[in-house]
Amino acid sequence: MTDVAIREPSSLRNKLLSVWENRWTTRLMPFVILLLIAFAFSLATGGRFLASRNLTIILNQALVVATVATGGTFIFATGNVNLAMGATTVLCETVSAMAFLAILDAGGSVELGLVVMFVISVTLAVFIMGFSAILSTKLNVRVLYVTIVMMTLLAAIQQALLGGSTLTIPSKITRMLANNNVHYIIFGVFFAFAVVIFHFTKIGRTLRFIGTNEICAHQTGKFKKDYLLLAFVIGGLGMGLGAMVAIIRSGSVSITTLSSLNMDTMLAIVLGGMSVFGGSKSFVYAGVIGAVTVTALQNGMVMVGVDSNLIQGVRGLLFLLLVAAAQKRPHGLPAPEG
């Protein structure tokens, strides 16, 4: 009787719960949150928040994090956390900018410089990420630890290369690239590539399978080391391209450039609705939605006049609450699904 009495009222809740945990609810929740934020700030600013020019500003501000995070979702999908995404991106930005300026100094053409800059950035990022994956699988060290070491090492290399100086790409060049929408093209092409690979090929399915249950994946012939390398290489591609987008946007590199990129990228991925444990509920657009959400929050808070001292605090608290709302905590100890 007691059992029935307790079960009876919970049946409605169970139905609600099943809706809540429906895969479409999980997928749509980040969009709903973004829309609610947009709606709230639009009300507060008399519609100026949704003005097309402001939306362009938000998109531009989100682009670097969105590009890096799109690559990062491949790594997160396997249930691994990469802490070297920011350091890799900034080192690629530094080395490629140095190469570009060296070519200009030597009398080379801008076109040659741009091609070399692009190739160096992407190649170096892919190499660093590939090397990290190999280190992890060959030495059997957890990805988290390898990337902590890489983050420190890459930051030290950047410090040695730059010291206290600032590299500046001539503004007429960055303006020319921006006017030709090169940053949008880079992001658009990479995002389309990532969507296809992640959602419509065996590679994406396997990466999510590994994140869901690594042992099961291994027993069905999906070897982690091969796919982890692949995930890191695609992640590296995103970082190399993110470095290019960053150069087009700001045109300068110093030791403090994009110092919070890694944290921003991880927050974007999580806010975008991806589980920190990766697996079947991983979506490649999570990084993009998350990056836009973070940027919209920052933009909106400035527009409504939140004090700069409070912005970080409000943002941190909102992240905490939104993550609490969006993430399913495992019933047992933190572990991959299954």
Binding site: T166, S171, S252, S308
Partner: protein
């Protein structure tokens, strides 16, 4: 068991709803903060660092300049890279800002372009113009520390700490001197290296320009084994702190000089003084604030003052000129502020040398309230084109020269 699971799920469900409701409540809670004071000019202030100085400056902007100029100021968080500066400018534009006062010198070129793109007037607190953006319509130029004034002040400060005739070795934090990212830092370092060279007949193995422009921290070859000089470039205070610890702990350096603030390094210096039983003299740039007085009056483990000499940066003087310049530009006076060639202007603020606590005690009475502000709302009339139609580049430069005389200011402001 099923009941327990139901309750657990129910709790889980409630947690999510509660978290979402809280998130929305927080967003809605900030809505009433919206300031719809459309009558005021909205100006963004992009700070490079957020320290105790910053709060003093925010008070001045908010309480003295805002009502006098009909402005509302939006303050940034600490801006550490160009990307963050551009983002701040864009967000200010979205709020309806019409001007930016920028402190992040390394990003002044890109910042000027971003502001120009959004038709916002832009002025930087720096000592060297960015040549590529001189002719931008909305770039008003710079108002920064006088490079000559800073060089003279650091020369005097170095001469005072070297005056005992003993051999001294110096650890110099040169901050943004490399490539003249901050020209005042470059010329201050140059002045100190020349002072050391003249005092001890040093023969540097490289030119002073090459020494200053070396990216990495390291010891300078002085040609005299008894005189050591160690240069630490870089704007990141935490990294600088980590870098100076090894040379400091060697006990070889008994003078510490920073071309910017010193507060971050006091603990590290005191630790070495205690461990090595030595006095390390400190020379740095400071502003009028409690911490500077504390520096002069607090004794180190050997009974000497923590701070031996400072070059005082008249923070609010530059702030007043920058805000007034934007005000004039918004009231049709943009062209009058340009230099003789019609380009963005470079205005210089002279520092106030302060060799001891006694001198500082007088200066510290300034900049605390309306009556003691070096430039208060009444003085501001001289800078505003609406009350003084003759306000232009030359009259600004002339006023700034007058403000170099700290004794005259004290006589006028402190009754």
């Amino acid at each position: 068991m099923g009941t327990v699971m139901d309750l657990r799920k129910e709790g889980f469900h409630m947690k999510k709803i509660f978290a979402l409701l809280l998130s929305m409540a927080m967003i809605l809670a900030v809505l009433p903060l919206t300031s719809l004071a459309q009558e005021k000019y909205i100006i963004g202030v992009a700070f490079q660092n957020v320290t105790s100085d910053t709060e003093i400056q925010k008070d001045y902007y908010t309480n003295e300049l805002a009502p006098a100029l009909g402005m509302e100021f939006i303050f940034s968080e600490a801006i550490k890279d160009t990307e963050t500066l551009v983002t701040f400018i864009e967000n200010c534009y979205a709020k309806g800002a019409v001007g930016i006062i920028n402190y992040y010198t390394a990003g002044r070129g890109r910042g000027a372009e971003a502001a120009d793109q959004y038709e916002m007037f832009f002025i930087t607190q720096a000592s060297k113009l960015d040549d590529a953006t001189l002719d931008l319509e909305y770039n008003l130029g710079n108002c920064g520390a006088s490079v000559d004034g800073m060089a003279r002040a650091y020369t005097a400060a170095m001469e005072s700490v070297l005056a005992d005739g003993e051999n001294h070795s110096v650890l110099m934090c040169t901050t943004a001197a490399v490539g003249q990212v901050a020209a005042s830092h470059y010329y201050s370092t140059q002045a100190m290296l020349e002072t050391m060279q003249n005092k001890y007949n040093l023969t540097y193995s490289k030119s002073i320009d090459e020494i200053i422009n070396t990216d990495s921290p390291g010891e300078v070859d002085t040609g005299n084994p008894n005189i050591k000089i160690f240069l630490v470039p870089g704007t990141d205070n935490d990294k600088t702190l980590a870098t100076i610890s090894t040379p400091l702990q060697s006990g070889d350096y008994d003078i510490f000089v920073a071309v910017s603030g010193y507060a971050n390094y006091t603990s590290a210096i005191a630790e070495v003084e205690r461990a090595k039983n030595m006095d390390i003299k400190v020379v740095a740039t400071a502003s009028i604030e409690k911490q500077t007085l504390t520096g002069f009056t607090t004794l180190d483990p050997l009974g000497n003052p923590i701070l031996n000499a400072v070059i005082l940066n008249p923070l609010n003087v530059a702030n007043a000129f920058c805000a007034a310049a934007i005000y004039n530009a918004l009231n049709g006076g943009a062209e009058a502020l340009k230099d003789a060639d019609g380009n963005a202007a470079q205005l210089f603020v002279n520092p106030w040398p302060c060799p001891d606590a006694e001198t500082y005690a007088n200066i510290a009475k300034l900049d605390t309230e309306h009556d003691t502000y070096v430039i208060n709302a009444d003085d501001l009339q001289r800078l505003m084109v609406t009350s003084n139609p003759d306000a232009n580049h030359d009259s600004y430069a002339e006023y700034l020269m007058e403000l170099a005389d700290i004794d005259a200011i004290i006589a006028r402001k402190i009754k």
